[in-house]
Each structure stands twice: as structure tokens, then as C-alpha cells.
Amino acid sequence: MNGGPLVGVRGVHRRYGSGATAVHALRDVTFELAAGTMTALVGRSGSGKTTLLNIIGGLDRPDSGTVHVDGTDVTALDEDGLSLLRREKVSYVFQTFGLIPVLSAAENVGAPLRLARVPPVERERRVALLLDLVGLAAHAEQRPGELSGGQQQRVAIARALAASPRLLIADEPTGQLDAETGLSVMALLRGVVESEGVTALVSTHDPTMLALADRVIRINDGQLDEHPGIRSDGRLDEHPGTRSDGRLDEHPGMRSDGKLDGRANGRGDS
């Protein structure tokens, strides 16, 4: 992996509804993800995790701001472009697993490969490999309804890895699993990030999962609060995208008024 940012999120706002009942789910969110890392997105329920993940993956669009994934401006893509993005670069693991009920575990894992028109022999080889990787080689022909929650989520992880995406987005993948199963699923994710070289962004509200992540981003009421050490006086933090001298950093899409990320993220407070 080149170590440069795979994901760049700049000044993203997302509001649901309008007028007095409007909910500001994301307020001026800016951050980057380095390639090949596993990042945990932590926040209470309703803090905006799902909204943020959906926008990064192109399932939703921001009201303002931009999202770059692997050099592509996701916010500029049309539906077909987003479909292609999902087919080639971004995959998801959902809290509710999201498997296709009428397909076997193996066919679920193979579905992205079918969409990518991978030749059958190669497809079957990769499906077998992935099922083996998630420890479900013996359950290849079972339907999702015949698998436990933990098993289903493993199938979902294998499926998310099938087309060798650059970015794997997992939205509370352990949310419906018991603690022990959840931990093993997290450990599996951690492992595949290493073995498959994928970049992972995993939301959770379970603090015990954090130890497995390379980095933790905290979100609170739609604003990033990446490090507990950020200061209310606006002093710099060590965010990789900002510089300690307070000057503009080199990223496109950065605010041009010279204000700092920390300040910008905290705008809602002022």
C-alpha cells in the first residue's frame, strides 16, 4: 500500500428535513483515511455514523462538501457511476447482514464476481478461498436463513471482499451479534484488512472493539471529535491533514479561509 490517503472527506454537511424540524446529521465533517488501515468510527446512536458511511460509499449524497475515494469524486457521480464505484472500489457490511436470501452462501459471495463478469473458474476459486478465509467452507451451499447471525456476517464479509475493493465500509457489523461472536467478527475484519490489503472503515458504538482499530474517529452530534485531546481553545491537534503552524495544508477542498480543521469542525459550538 502506498500509505497515502485513500479517502478524503471535505466539509460534508447532511441535513434531514427542513425548517424547524430539520436534523443536522453531519456538520462540516472533514477527515482522511490512509490506505491499508482499519479505522473505527465511534459514536452514540444517532450521532451520524450511518449517514457518514452512506455518503462515503455513495449510497447517499451530502448537501455540501466532497468525498474522494481512490481519486474519484464520489459526490460528482451519477447513479451508474455510483453503481460502478460499488462494483469496483467500495463494498459494504451491514448490521443486518444484507445477504440475498434466495442464494446460497457461496452464491452470495460470488455475486459481486458475477457482476464483475469474472470467469466462472476464477470466480469459484475465489469464492472457495474466501469462504475458507471466513471459516465457512463447510456451509457453502446453505441459504442465509439456515445460518446463524455470526455465520451470516462472515459470509457478508467474504462477499464484501470478493471483488477486491479498495474500501470496505462496515456499519455496526457486530450490532446484532452477541459480544463473543461480535469480537470474533471484528477480529476477522482486522485479519482480512491485513491479508487482503483492504482499507476498512468500521462504525461501532461498542468501546471494546476499539483496540482492534489502527485509528479511532469519534463522532458526536454530527461533528467529528477525532481525539479526546482536542482543545476548546482551538489549538492544533495532530490530525495528519493539518499543520501545526496553522497554515493551509496541501489538500484540495480544504477551507481557504485559513481556519483550522479543529475550529471548522467545532463551528457548531461557536
Binding site: 450511518t50 453503481s83 460499488r86 443486518t96 444484507g98 434466495v102 452464491e107 455475486a111 457482476l115 466462472p120
Partner: protein, 703 residues
């Protein structure tokens, strides 16, 4: 026991939330009650017209003859009988009495005639014939004498005539036209002779003009009013002279004892000879004919002659055949409508399952749940029935209840029954049992239940066909249900075959490189086990083909009376209504499967499926049952035609055995419409969901 009380706001709220399927079911009930309510009265109106037409065109006059009493006097003579006209009146009254009130009411007042044999006018070379006739109905027919006067007696009232005496003189009146053509005036003698050359002594008493030349009495012997040329094909012209009450006794003596023919004529009154009175009228006529005395009897017994019984027998057979054929079509409509209503109830319960389950788990009792659902379905079904019958009343001369019951009962009961069952299941353990033998037992019970249903339908279908062959189409509801039941049986058979086909296709496709086909086939294989939607599609297309073929056969028929036209109209109405019902079934089935279908499609979208591709996958799921219906339906329809057409008695309506031409363009059109419907349903489904972003769909449980 506490009487379960409905919770009104929740009843109303539920109905509002599911207004679509409820409305659709109501529309089906309106349409079917309209058809089933209006058809029998329309048919009996057509039957009335058929009876009228038959009587008008093939004649249904009743004639009754009776020989007059002998007039032999003492010493080998004949005696003049001055009260002969009164005898004729008595005879007419007696004949009228014999009719009985039912038959009498269907006939015009009678006319009595006494008519002589045909005589030759012996004054020239042109062949001209002459008859003497006495005509009497109640108070008529009236004439005015414009020259001379009415015929008078030519001798003493009670004269006696020895056998072998010279011809007895008799006076007659002539109509203006006859008098002019014969150039005769009052007082002239008409030179006449019978076939044996016996001379008749007939004198003209006067010239008359009929008060009303359209009086039905004159119809019996038109030559009384004017010469009738060429009636016998030999170029002769007929004339006739009118006898009066006074001259009738002389006419008797002028001819041999039995030469005058005494007849009473009854003509049916088409306005009063309706289909309803045909059975009693026909029975009475048959009775009169059977009791008729022999022609030789001189005992005054009546000898009835009429073709009315035959005419009524023919028209009855036609009406029975037409109404049996109409009931065949009606039963097909009812069967498909009932399936559509079941499907609508199924969809409704599908949508309400979570709420019903929750209500049950909250402790709501089954009678309350069922009662609330019953309230809703009863109100909407009865309103729809009232609307349908109201419309029927507007288009038909009456409304019939006999056919609407099955549809109304289904509309009222299906929703509550399905809903209560669903709620009842909520408190049982619904999860698949872990125990393997328990699982097998459950599976087997389900299979057994389905096999029992299929066997039941098959037995009923074969029974109906046997009944049709043995009893004929007029043998009641069972033979008339043969096409509908056989279509159901065929549909069940295809419902067995479809999952095998889709599973086979999926297996083949899994090895292919066509992702959309794989996903579509996988969905199709999963949903092809649903019997009801396929049953609606197949039976509607098969029975529409049947109706089309029936319509074409009747339409090709040569002797298309008003009856055939009525049946034809019903056949076309059925041929249109059945596919429409099938399309409603398609929409309902699609709506019932839509949540699951679009959940899968949404999940595939998160894997990178394009929106356009999602529509193809959806079409791939919906197409197999439609293709089965579009291809299998017409074939099944053709089988039904072969199986039943021979027993439908179509020849009674069409005159000849109808040619069994399958209307291929119509069948093709039905098939194309069904395939096109998928091309409409899929974009509509997708458009209904396009407003929502994928993220919202996922959030709402689409993932």
C-alpha cells in the same frame, strides 16, 4: 362471554392504509355482481324475444275441428237446421273452455269458420275457384253492405230436403273486389260446380265492405276480401263468398253432409307468450293434442291441430342451450373472480401480518381480530355488491341474485379468514423446529394438504366432465362447471411444473456468465412455489381462450337469432373480462412479492447492480409465470374446447355444428397483453421506489 367490540379508529385506519387492495377487490365485486346480476334477466328477455320470434316466423296457430251433427230427417231426407250458427258459437266457446286459463291467456280471441270445399266457377276458360265461408268471432268481423244486403234464408227455416233433390239454393255476399272481378251484382247467380260436376246454386245477396280489413278474422280466408291469384301454383284465382248466420243452414244443405269444415282458430298473442309461460303452455298443448278425438268421430269431440308444441319445444331447447352456455361462461367468470379475490385477501394479510401478529401478541383475542376484519370486508363487499346490482338494474330489465353469492361470500370471508389464521399462528411457535423429524413432519403435513386440495379439484373436474357427457350441458351446475374446473385442474398441474422448470433453469444459468439471468432465475425459483398467482394467470388466460373460441364458433354460425347474439355478447364480455381479471391478479401477485423482490434488488444494488439492471432482474422474476400463462393458457383453453364443445349443444343456436376455429389473433393478443403487462409492472414498481435514495431504503429495512 363478552361481546367483542371493534376498535373503530384502528378499523378505519387499517382500511385507509390498505385502500388499494380493498378498492381493487371492491371493483372486482362490482364488475362481477353487475355481470352476474344482469345476465339472467337479460337472458330471459332474450328468451322472450326468441319465443315471440319463433311463434311469429314458424306460426303457432291452433286449429280445432269438429264434425257437425248429422241433419238426417225422417223418410230419407235432410232437415234444415236454423240454429247452425249458434252451434258454431257453442263449438267456439267449448274449444275456448278446453284451452284452460293458462293457454287461453296466451292466445288471441278465437275465430270460428265454416268453409265449403273449393268449387270451380264454370263461366269461362280462366281457372277460377270459389269457396263459401262463414266467419265468426266475438262481435265480428263487421261489414257494411254497399249494395244489396246480407244473405237471407232461401226457404222456410225448417224445410226438409229429400235425398237426391236438385241443388239447394244459397245466398252469399261478395266483397267489392271479388264482385268487381267477377262482374256480379246483387241478385246474380254464380255458375259453380264441384269436382264431380255437381252444380251449385249460389246467388249474390249483396256486396260488402269490411269495417276493418286488418281484422285477424279475414286472415283465415283472404279470398273473402279480394281475389287471390296463383295461390295453388296452377295459375288459378281464388274467390270466396261470405255466408251469414241466416244462410249458413242453406249452405249446409247445398253440400254433402260432411263437406263443410267447421274450425275454430286460435292465434298466439306474442306479447303475452313469454318464456315464463312456455312450459305450462307447451304442456297444455301437448295434452290437448293427445286427448283429441279421431277425425271420423261424429260425437262432437274436438280435434286439435297445431305446430305450437313443436315450435315451443324447439325454442325451449334453444333457450335451455343458450342459458346453459351462458352459465358456463358465468361460472368461468365467477371462478377467476374468486381466485382474484383470494389473491387480494392474501396480499392484504401479507401486508398486515406484522400488525396482526403484534395485536395477537398484545393479547387481542382472535374473535376481535376476526370481527374487525370482517367488519371491514363486509362493509366494502356489501357496498360493492349494492353498486354492482344497482348498475345491473340500470342496464338489465331486472336483477338476479342466484349467481352472485359465491363472489360476495368470498369477498366478505376471505380477508377475515386469512387474517385470523395469520394472527392465530402468531401465538404458536412459528420458527422452523430444530428437530429434524419434526421438520419433516411439518413439511409432509403441508405437502399432504396441498395434495388433498389438488386431488379434490381433479376429482371435481373429472366429475364435471363425466356429468357433462352423461347429462349434457343442461344437466345443472356441475356439467356447466366443467370448463372452469378443468382450467383450475390444469392450472394446478402447471403450478406443479413451474417450480421444476425454474429450478432447472436456475441450475443451468448458475453455470452461465449472465448475472442478471442468474439473479432473476433465483428469485423466480424462490417465488414459483406460490400457487395462487399462477392459478389466476393460467385460468384467466385459458378461460379467456375458451370464451374467445366459443364466441368465434357462435359468431360463425349461420342462423344467428337473437339468442345467439346474446350469447355472443356474453362470450365477448367474458373474453375481455377474464384477461382483465388475470391482469389484476398479475398486479396483485406482483404487489405481494414486491417487498421481498425489492429487498433483494436493493441488496444487489449495494453490490453494484445498476438501476436499469435491477429492472431486468425484476422482469426475470415476474416473467416465468406470465410466460407459462401466455403459452400454457391458450393450449389449456384448446384442450377445454376439445373436451367440452361437443356437449355444449351449440348447433341448436348456430343451426349447424360449429366449426372449431381457434381465433389465433385473439389468443395472440391476450398472450402479448400479458407479456406487455410485465413491461408495465416493472417500471411502475421501480418508479414507485426511485424517489427514495438507496440509503433511505436500507434504513427502512430494505437491506
Amino acid at each position: 362471554m363478552r361481546i367483542p367490540a371493534p376498535h373503530w379508529p384502528s378499523v378505519a385506519g387499517r382500511a385507509r392504509a390498505d385502500a388499494g387492495p380493498l378498492l381493487l377487490a371492491a371493483v372486482v365485486v362490482v364488475a362481477i355482481t353487475l355481470l352476474a346480476g344482469a345476465m339472467p334477466p337479460l337472458l330471459s328477455a332474450t328468451a322472450d324475444a326468441a319465443v315471440r320470434d319463433a311463434v311469429r316466423s314458424s306460426g303457432g296457430d291452433l286449429q280445432v275441428h269438429s264434425r257437425m251433427e248429422g241433419d238426417d230427417g225422417p223418410n230419407g231426407s235432410r232437415v234444415r237446421h236454423p240454429r247452425l250458427a249458434e252451434d258454431v258459437d257453442d263449438f267456439r266457446a267449448r274449444a275456448t273452455d278446453e284451452l284452460g286459463p293458462g293457454l287461453r291467456a296466451a292466445l288471441h280471441p278465437p275465430v270460428a269458420t265454416v268453409i265449403s270445399p273449393t268449387l270451380k266457377i264454370t263461366d269461362g276458360s280462366v281457372l277460377r275457384t270459389f269457396q263459401l265461408a262463414y266467419v265468426a268471432r266475438d262481435g265480428g268481423p263487421d261489414v257494411t253492405w254497399i249494395a244489396g244486403g246480407p244473405p237471407r234464408p232461401t226457404d222456410s227455416e225448417t224445410a226438409a230436403v229429400p235425398y237426391g233433390a236438385p241443388p239447394w239454393p244459397v245466398q252469399v255476399g261478395l266483397s267489392e273486389a271479388d264482385a268487381a272481378a267477377l262482374r256480379l251484382r246483387p241478385g246474380d247467380r254464380l255458375p259453380l260446380a264441384d269436382d264431380q260436376g255437381n252444380v251449385k246454386k249460389v246467388q249474390i245477396s249483396g256486396v260488402f265492405r269490411p269495417r276493418d280489413s286488418a281484422d285477424p278474422a279475414w286472415r283465415l280466408l283472404p279470398s273473402l276480401l279480394s281475389p287471390v291469384a296463383g295461390a295453388d301454383g296452377a295459375g288459378s284465382t281464388r274467390f270466396a263468398g261470405l255466408l251469414s248466420r241466416d244462410s249458413l243452414p242453406d249452405a249446409r244443405l247445398a253440400f254433402g253432409q260432411d263437406e263443410l269444415r267447421r274450425t275454430v282458430w286460435f292465434t298466439p298473442d306474442p306479447a303475452r307468450l313469454t318464456w315464463a309461460v312456455v312450459p305450462s303452455v307447451a304442456a297444455k298443448v301437448v295434452g290437448l293434442k293427445a286427448a283429441s278425438g279421431s277425425s271420423g268421430a261424429r260425437d262432437g269431440s274436438l280435434k286439435w291441430e297445431t305446430r305450437l308444441d313443436g315450435v315451443l319445444r324447439n325454442v325451449s331447447a334453444q333457450v335451455h342451450a343458450a342459458s346453459a352456455q351462458a352459465s358456463v361462461l358465468l361460472i368461468t367468470l365467477l371462478a377467476v373472480a374468486i381466485l382474484v379475490l383470494l389473491l387480494a385477501a392474501d396480499l392484504l394479510v401479507h401486508r398486515r401480518a406484522p400488525a396482526l401478529t403484534a395485536a395477537r401478541q398484545r393479547g387481542m383475542s382472535l374473535p376481535v381480530i376476526g370481527g374487525e376484519l370482517l367488519l371491514e370486508s363486509a362493509v366494502s363487499a356489501l357496498l360493492a355488491t349494492a353498486a354492482g346490482l344497482g348498475l345491473a338494474r340500470a342496464v338489465a330489465p331486472g336483477v338476479s341474485w342466484e349467481w352472485i353469492a359465491p363472489v360476495v361470500v368470498t369477498a366478505v370471508a376471505a380477508g377475515p379468514a386469512f387474517g385470523t389464521l395469520t394472527a392465530a399462528r402468531a401465538t404458536r411457535d412459528r420458527r422452523v423446529p430444530a428437530n429434524r423429524s419434526a421438520r419433516r413432519w411439518m413439511r409432509n403435513t403441508g405437502r399432504l394438504r396441498r395434495a388433498a386440495l389438488e386431488t379434490g379439484v381433479l376429482v371435481a373436474a373429472s366429475g364435471s366432465v363425466i356429468a357433462l357427457y352423461q347429462r349434457g350441458i343442461g344437466g345443472g351446475v356441475l356439467p356447466a362447471s366443467a370448463p372452469a374446473l378443468c382450467a383450475l385442474a390444469g392450472g394446478l398441474l402447471l403450478a406443479r411444473a413451474l417450480p421444476l422448470g425454474t429450478r432447472f433453469a436456475l441450475k443451468r444459468l448458475l453455470r452461465s456468465r449472465r448475472p442478471l439471468a442468474v439473479f432473476g432465475a433465483a428469485r423466480a425459483a424462490a417465488t414459483s412455489a406460490r400457487v395462487l398467482p399462477l392459478l389466476v394467470l393460467v385460468t384467466s388466460v385459458a378461460l379467456a381462450s375458451y370464451a374467445l373460441t366459443l364466441g368465434a364458433a357462435v359468431g360463425h354460425g349461420t342462423a344467428a337469432g337473437p339468442l345467439a347474439a346474446g350469447l355472443l355478447r356474453l362470450a365477448w364480455v367474458s373474453a375481455v373480462t377474464l384477461p382483465v381479471l388475470g391482469l389484476l391478479g398479475l398486479a396483485l401477485g406482483a404487489a405481494a412479492g414486491a417487498p421481498e423482490r425489492w429487498q433483494t434488488l436493493t441488496r444487489l444494488r449495494t453490490l453494484g447492480l445498476r438501476p436499469r439492471e435491477a429492472r431486468w432482474v425484476a422482469a426475470g422474476e415476474l416473467l416465468p409465470p406470465v410466460v407459462v400463462a401466455a403459452v400454457g393458457g391458450p393450449l389449456l383453453g384448446a384442450v377445454l374446447v376439445r373436451l367440452t364443445f361437443g356437449s355444449l349443444d351449440l348447433r341448436l343456436l348456430t343451426g349447424a355444428d360449429p366449426a372449431l376455429a381457434s381465433p389465433w389473433w385473439g389468443l395472440g393478443l391476450v398472450a402479448v397483453v400479458f407479456l406487455a403487462a410485465v413491461a408495465v409492472v416493472v417500471p411502475v414498481e421501480s418508479a414507485l421506489r426511485r424517489r427514495r435514495r438507496l440509503s433511505e431504503v436500507l434504513r427502512a429495512g430494505g437491506s
